[in-house]
Symmetry: C2
Subunit: 198 residues, 2 copies
């Protein structure tokens, strides 16, 4: 005997999510059966909505319900500053900080020769167009501190600098609250290289 079909179908769906294997999927599926009917219906509705109601902003590539997105429409933000990130969720992390008042540009990926991802495959051409048309003075590159993220930052820097726009990169160093003892060597090296007067 196998699982009843509705259960096994739901398990298959749960297993398509990252980090969820068969055992967890079974646990979640059985849990779902005992959930409140409204919660399950709401769950189903929010799944549909996330595919139907979310789009990418035609200017910055961020995830949004309206186009252009709230941030691109907000004229009170500093139009001369663009922060470049890999993914829409990075925009949310930045916004949580409540300090950055410029605009964003979401690449939706990084350059990766191994996976065959070139500049045309991510949202770079749109960034270049923005830089030609808008009055941008500085581009802050906030790709992740991975090999691909660094390579993408380097590529963008070389591409943008000749146009006279200032290009900066987020600082790398020790996390606030972290112990030197537990920092990896590369982070330590970056922290030393990036040392500041005090």
């Amino acid at each position: 005997m196998h699982y009843p079909e509705p259960i096994s179908k739901l398990m298959e769906s749960y297993m398509k999510l990252p980090g969820i294997g068969e055992k967890t999927a079974a646990r979640l599926a059985f849990y779902t059966v005992n959930m409140n009917e409204d919660d399950v219906t709401g769950f189903a509705r929010s799944l549909i909505s996330v595919k139907r109601d979310l789009h990418y902003c035609s200017i910055c590539g961020n995830m949004t319900e309206q186009d252009p997105c709230e941030i691109c429409q907000d004229k009170s933000r500093d139009q001369s500053l663009i922060l470049v990130v890999e993914h829409p969720k990075d925009v949310i992390s930045m916004e949580k900080m409540q300090e950055f008042k410029g605009l964003y540009h979401v690449l939706h990926g990084v350059l990766s020769p191994i996976e065959g991802t070139g500049p045309e495959d991510i949202n770079i051409p749109d960034l270049i167009k923005r830089l030609q048309n808008e009055e941008v003075k500085e581009v802050i590159i906030a790709t992740n501190a991975t090999a691909e993220g660094e390579a993408t930052a380097m590529y963008l820097s070389r591409l943008i600098k000749p146009s006279g726009i200032k290009v900066t990169r987020l600082a790398h160093g020790l996390s606030v609250g972290s112990d030197i003892e537990y920092a990896d060597e590369v982070t330590l090296l970056k922290a030393v290289e990036g040392r500041r007067d005090m």
Copy 2:
């Protein structure tokens, strides 16, 4: 700025699942946005189906699409043997073993004086009715090896034995493949108590 509404709604839904906090919910929600449309629609459909198409068998309390369930309808199974479990998923674990050919009875819980769960609150009255009407010779109690599971087993044993039906309990002892070194004392004690001739 917060998450776009469709994302935050989906996160709320994910967070209703056990073991999923805000960070995981965010990760899953963003992942969902990039999932194949058909997969997401299928996911939503299987959520609805699990609430709509699954019922409890009116005889044994197992989860089923038809009533009575496949197992209760299967006349080739040993009608004189009933294995009592706490939850529908325990039936699936037992069936995976492919050795047990009797019937089941699902309690949907255990006795718990602390939580105020008495015999009438779980599927015990129906079990007693079955024992009166069907030609049952043995009841195997397979509640979990927890305090409540043991208490429920004890209660059922005292309730059923006077009617002359044999009542047995699953053996407790060392897991197959496990080291004595890592076994807890209670398990070891049970293993010693339950030792068998060889």
